[in-house]
Symmetry: C2
Subunit: 394 residues, 2 copies
């Protein structure tokens, strides 16, 4: 087996260096990262093992990161990372789902054994897999340490993408374009929802030119008719109707860099209300992407979009976009900057967002989203999907 | 849209009644369930929305469960559950990823507004999506309540499956059998790993006779050659070799009831060491499944398996199985009973396990697993996959 790492070693070295500088500024000696995207971004570690407690640790005075996890997954760490063997540490197997002990008890042993018992420790207090119980075991096991939330320190370090990362984002954009086009080609009256999704998965994984796809942060989503008023339903057995609205949100991932895309289709001639909403969504997106240049804030971009909606008699309560990049289930958002009121994050070239311009009305919804990268000339689209309400002639 | 609920309303009513009895015995007035499998099992709620704080609450004196989550997902709760509208509660959108406030602040408001401020509250302290931060907001927001870990109360309530649930488990067993056979038919020298996986996904979702598949708790896993010494790697671009070992672990899910399956294949004539290990794994599995009858304990089943291994000069550190049923990413284990030393859970008819008989040696590994249901005559297999080292003639 010849595992091909997603980046040069120097890229990981640079990331750890950057993170240490952020730690120093934020007053942390040590951070503990359980978010699988942060683990992968810092070290390259890649394995569907995040259902078990595991983490990457970075200490200011330790040259490389440290991987901590289950013994059977430590071998994956040896294969997928450049970490030295002495920084790949596994916990005792009986601690898996143990009623009173926890794998992080042994992480505390590790931290003490390295002489870091009194460190200022930053944990990911709100990371998906960092459970309340895991935190209690760290707090109890490190009574002399000062534990606090690192406020997504590594998530924020990820927000501006390198050229190598942008290559994966664009490749994912190509695959998600192909996946959406696969779906569109299958949306015909009588076709079952799951038949469309089976083909979407096939295209997502096959990719193009040996650039295969990874599993995505969210599964493919499809809503039909009345179900289009809520965004996160999954597929069913129902045959597609002779006429009606379909909204699909699909992702694609290259080396775990996720590019999501949403499109609205109408089987048969669309009602005026649907066409009108779609036109406004496209117009609002165009205005927002034109403005998404370095120096502009997230809330300024959102306000431009909201202005177009308002002028046309619509509104959208939820944020209209969020930062994207490397990610693992259950999400493909980076949980940092959002395009919404109050978010004063200043855009920089190389940031990537999913402009998720879904508007859900009482009876139906529509969404025509755009993943984009911030450039000097505005938001550059990462996909080539048709940017309109897609009408399926029947 | 005509959403077909997975169970009769009476099934959900019975589950909530059973859970209330367990709550009463354990000394809880209220439980808060964030585990998506527990949310689905209690109410039918089904949506890929678990990347956002959400929960199902059960109070001893409230007839039905209460759904709490994001406004855009509340519509999914109206579609997929029978809950009355007054028990589908959404939080304010600006609380999503808010730096200081949290959706569970409004859950505390809800709990107080119902007069439950001093309740004995059981939380899922170690559930995947119940973060340390979520817990802090509950603790701070309910200063007069007595919060403690409910120790997987609902997970344990799920362990014995009803006939209706077993039907889904068997259907998932059929789909995973088909998915594994798809993989086997594609494993040929030169085929790329991702090409195999793309076809596996297609079969997983397509199902049979309109019994489509849902997304599974884990993605399909494939390990080749040296990579077979670690279980959770995912696919790559590598062409399959002219000769070598392949281990695949695949799931299938019917209405989110997951049936996992692992098989070991050898492209070309297998080395003696591989055949021998595979024979022992099959023998050990046969002995264990024969014994898996009501009244036997989990550790007794494991000991039988371990005896066969030992007699043949092998050993396995990790548990050899775990309870399965309804589940959502990132896991398909129920996090309750495990087939391992020290687990004295007594088997009952209707419990389902994944007998995960993987043995990972230094240089390679092999696994021939069996999902099964406990019956009076022993463990009844849920799949029909060939139970042997599968040799791919080339």
């Amino acid at each position: 087996m010849s595992y091909v790492k997603p980046f040069e070693k120097s890229e990981f070295v640079g990331r750890v260096r950057d993170v240490k500088q952020r730690m120093d500024e934020a007053g942390f000696d040590l951070i503990i990262c359980q978010d699988p995207a942060n683990m992968a971004w810092l070290t390259g570690f890649d394995s569907w093992s995040f259902y078990t407690p595991q983490a990457v640790l970075v200490h200011l005075e330790e040259e490389t990161a440290i991987w901590f996890g289950r013994a059977q997954d430590a071998k994956s760490a040896h294969i997928t990372t450049d970490l030295p063997a002495h920084n790949i540490i596994s916990f005792s197997e009986p601690l898996v789902h143990h009623p009173t002990r926890h794998p992080f008890d042994e992480m505390c042993d590790l931290i003490r054994s390295r002489g870091w018992a009194t460190a200022r420790v930053g944990v990911e207090l709100d990371a998906h897999y960092y459970t309340a119980r895991a935190h209690q075991h760290l707090v109890n096991g490190l009574p002399d340490a000062r534990l606090s939330d690192n406020q997504g320190l590594v998530n924020w370090a990820r927000i501006v993408k390198s050229d190598a990362e942008l290559r994966y984002m664009r490749e994912a954009g190509r695959i998600v374009t192909d996946s959406m086009n696969t779906a569109i080609s299958r949306l015909r009256p009588g076709t079952r929802q799951y038949e469309v999704i089976a083909d979407v998965y096939h295209t997502q994984i096959t990719g193009y030119d040996h650039k295969f796809g990874d599993y995505t942060g969210l599964c493919p989503l499809i809503q039909v008719g009345e179900g289009t008023n809520t965004p996160h339903l999954t597929w069913a057995d129902d045959p597609l109707p002779e006429s009606g609205l379909v909204v699909m949100e699909i992702g694609a991932a290259r080396r775990h860099y996720n590019c999501p895309l949403t499109r609205t289709m109408h089987i048969g001639a669309p009602p005026e209300a649907v066409s009108r909403l779609a036109d406004v969504i496209v117009e609002g997106g165009d205005v927002a992407l034109d403005a998404a240049k370095p120096g502009v804030t997230c809330e300024e971009v959102e306000a431009l979009w909201q202005g177009v909606l308002k002028r046309n008699g619509y509104s959208k309560d939820s944020r209209v976009g969020y930062s994207i990049g490397i990610n693992y289930p259950p999400d493909w958002g980076e949980r940092t900057a959002s395009l919404r009121p109050g978010d004063t994050t200043v855009l920089e070239a190389g940031m990537c967002f999913h402009f998720q311009s879904g508007v859900w009305l009482e009876d139906f919804g529509a969404a025509i989203s755009e993943p984009f990268v911030v450039t000097e000339s505005g938001g550059e689209r990462l996909t080539h999907a048709a940017r309109e309400l897609i009408v399926i002639d029947v």
